[in-house]
Symmetry: C2
Subunit: 354 residues, 2 copies
C-alpha cells in the first residue's frame, strides 16, 4: 500500500525566543550545528519510506513561504494551510480528506515537524513496523518512546499484550508527577507519547466519522472542493467552524484497535533551550558553544552566538542566545520564564521582537 | 597666582572591555546615565578654578582626535602627546616645562582623567585648600580621600600633624592586605591616595632637578623647543630616552614638604564594571540597567545595553555589556578575568576587538 506522510508544522512556539519568532517558529529553525532546520530533518529522515509527492505539510498561510523555501521538493499543492488553529484532530481530518482525493486508500503517517531523532535508521525501521501494523486492519498505531528517566513533561502510553511488533494500548495518561513517573518507569509497561501516528486513510476516516461526525462531514466537503475554484472558500467556511480538538482526546482515547510500536532511536522533543546541550556535542566543561565564543571559567553553559563575539567569564548553568535585535541571558532553572519576557514585550507593543 | 591644570589621559585600560578599546579607553567613555565622558567631567568640574586656556591634556597621539572632539574648548597647543608611555614622572616634567614657557611660576594641578566625583562643590573647595597650601612654600600637596571601608585596591597616605588645612605626610604605603587595611582605617591616620597633586611649577621643577636630574634636563630641552619647528623632533628624542618612573616613587616618597588635604566628596576611581552600580542609581533589586532591558527575577545585575533589547531571566551578581561587535557576560566575582579574554583575543589576532 502507498505510504503518505502529513507533517504538522503550524506551531507558534515561544520557547526558543529570541531565535524563534511568530514569523519563524521552531520547526523552521536549525538548533543543531549542521544548519539543517527541524522540518528539513523531519522530511529527510522519512525519504526512504515516502515519495516527496506524497508528503503533505500542514501549516498556516503565514508559513507557506518558509515551507516552500526550506522544502522546495514538496509540491505546492501538498502544502495545506489551515485558516485557523484548531488543534490536531481537524488538521488530520483535513489532510486525510485531501489525500483521499489522490488514493482510494493509503497508509498515512502523521509526524510532528519539530522533534529530533538521533538514530535515523532505527527510526525508519520502527516506522516500517508501524506501517505493517497499520496495514493489517483498522488499527490506529502510535510510536511510543522507551523512557530512560522519569520525565514529568510528557504524556505516557500504558501498553498491554503484544501482537507481532506492536503492543495493544491499555490507556493514554497525562503528564505525571515525579513519583508517578518513577512508578511508570519501574513498571516497564509505559512508553512516552511521541505524537507520531500511523494508520490507513480508511481507518482514521472511519474513526473520525464515528467519534466526530461534524468534523468528518466538514472534512469530506473540503476534500470534495480540493483542486476546484471553490476550495479556498469551502476550506475557510468549513475549517473555521470546526471546534478545537486533539486527536489524542477526540479519537485515540476512545477508539478500539489502538497499538503502539516501542521505539528507542534517540528521540528528543527539543522542548526548550535546555535541550540544545542534549542534542549537540558538548565540551569537557559541558558547554555547547555556537558562533564565536571566548570563555573563561564557564561550565554547563549553552551559548548560541550570532554575528558578534560573545565573551563569557565565570558563569555557569546559563543560556545565552544572540540575535540581530534581541539578546537572551537566562539561568537554566528559569527557562520557563522566557514566556514572561514575551508577554511583557507584547504588553509594551514591541511586536517586531516577538 | 595663576592656576593651571594637567589632566593625565594617556591610559589604555582594559577593565571596561568591550566598551573600552585601545582606540577609546575609559577616560573617553561615559559610564554614567548623563552621557558625559569621564574626561569631560574632569575638565568641567575644575572650570570654576582654571581657565580653559590653562588646562593641558597629557595623552598620546592616538587620542588627540578624541580629545579635540570631546573637549573643543581646550586650545590645540595644550594637548601634549607623549611619544611613548613613561609613567607619571616624565609626563609631569614635560607638562611643567611647557607651562613654564607661558608663566614664570603658577600653581599646577595634576589630575587623573578617569575618576568620578559625587560632590563637586566640596571637591572644588578641597582643591582650593590644596592650592593655598601649595602657594605657601615649596610644598608638594596631594589630595587624600577619607576612607569609609578597608579597601585593599588602593595605596594609602599616612599623615601626621596638621598645618592649616593640610596635614604633613608621614609616608605613602602600597596596597595593603585586608587586616592591614582594617588597621589603617581604625587608626584614623590613613587616607586613600587619589593620585591628585597640587604644587607650584617652581616646586615640582626644583624637586625633579634634585631627584631626577636626567629627566629634568630633557624636560627643559623639550620646554625650550615648544612652539618652534624643532619641537616634534626634540620631544621624540628626549622623551623616548626617559626611563619609566612614577611621580609617587620618584619624587613624593623622597621629597620634603609633602602635605595632604583630606577630602570627602564621593570619590570613585571607577576601577572596573563593578563600580558602575556604585556610581549610578540602582533599582529596588539593586540592578543598574542602561538601554532597553527586560528583566524577570534579576538581582544585583549591571546591564549596559546597546542598540538591541536585552532580556535577562533569573540571573544575579552578573555584568552584561553589549557593544556593536562584542558582548560581555561576566559574573561579578570574575571581573578581574576580563583581561584574560583580552589576552586570548590578542593571541588569536582579533585585534579589531581589543
Amino acid at each position: 500500500m502507498k505510504i503518505t506522510a502529513v507533517i504538522m508544522a503550524g506551531g507558534r512556539g515561544e520557547r526558543f525566543w529570541p531565535r524563534s519568532r511568530n514569523s519563524r517558529p521552531k520547526q523552521f529553525l536549525s538548533l543543531t550545528a549542521d544548519g539543517e532546520t527541524m522540518i528539513q530533518k523531519t522530511v529527510r529522515r522519512i525519504s526512504s519510506l515516502v515519495e516527496p509527492e506524497d508528503v503533505y505539510i500542514s501549516t498556516n498561510s503565514d508559513y507557506i513561504p518558509l515551507v516552500r523555501e526550506q522544502l522546495p521538493e514538496i509540491p505546492k499543492e501538498n502544502i495545506l494551510a489551515e485558516p485557523a488553529p484548531r488543534n490536531t484532530a481537524p488538521c488530520i481530518a483535513f489532510a486525510a480528506a485531501v489525500i483521499g482525493r489522490k488514493y482510494d486508500d493509503a497508509v498515512m503517517m502523521v509526524l510532528p515537524s519539530d522533534h529530533l531523532i538521533g538514530l535515523e535508521t532505527i527510526f525508519a525501521d520502527t516506522l516500517k513496523k508501524a506501517v505493517k501494523t497499520a496495514e493489517q486492519g483498522e488499527n490506529l498505531v502510535t510510536v511510543g518512546i522507551t523512557p530512560n528517566y522519569p520525565e514529568t513533561g510528557y504524556g505516557y502510553i500504558n501498553f498491554g499484550k503484544s501482537c507481532g511488533d506492536a503492543y495493544a494500548v491499555e490507556k493514554f495518561v497525562e503528564k505525571p508527577d515525579l513519583p508517578t513517573a518513577e512508578k511508570y518507569l519501574a513498571s516497564g509497561k509505559y512508553l512516552w507519547n511521541s505524537g507520531m501516528f500511523i494508520w490507513k486513510l480508511s481507518s482514521i476516516m472511519n474513526n473520525i466519522r464515528r467519534f466526530m461526525p461534524d468534523i468528518y462531514e466538514g472534512a469530506v466537503r473540503i476534500g470534495e472542493a480540493y483542486g476546484t475554484d471553490e476550495f479556498d472558500e469551502t476550506l475557510e467556511r468549513e475549517f473555521t467552524s470546526f471546534r478545537s480538538e486533539s486527536v489524542d482526546f477526540g479519537i485515540m482515547e476512545k477508539a478500539e484497535n489502538i497499538y503502539t510500536i516501542p521505539g528507542s532511536f534517540g528521540w528528543d522533543d527539543v522542548g526548550s533551550w535546555l535541550a540544545v546541550e542534549r542534542i549537540n556535542k558538548t565540551d569537557g566543561n559541558k558547554n555547547y558553544f555556537e558562533g564565536e565564543v571566548v570563555a573563561e571559567n564557564v561550565r554547563h553553559a549553552t551559548i548560541c552566538g550570532g554575528k558578534r563575539l560573545i565573551a563569557a567569564v565565570g558563569v555557569e548553568d546559563i543560556v545565552i542566545v544572540d540575535s540581530e535585535d534581541a539578546l537572551l541571558i537566562c539561568s537554566k532553572n528559569s527557562a520557563q520564564d522566557i514566556k514572561k519576557i514575551i508577554a511583557r514585550l507584547k504588553e509594551s507593543g514591541r511586536n517586531e521582537l516577538i
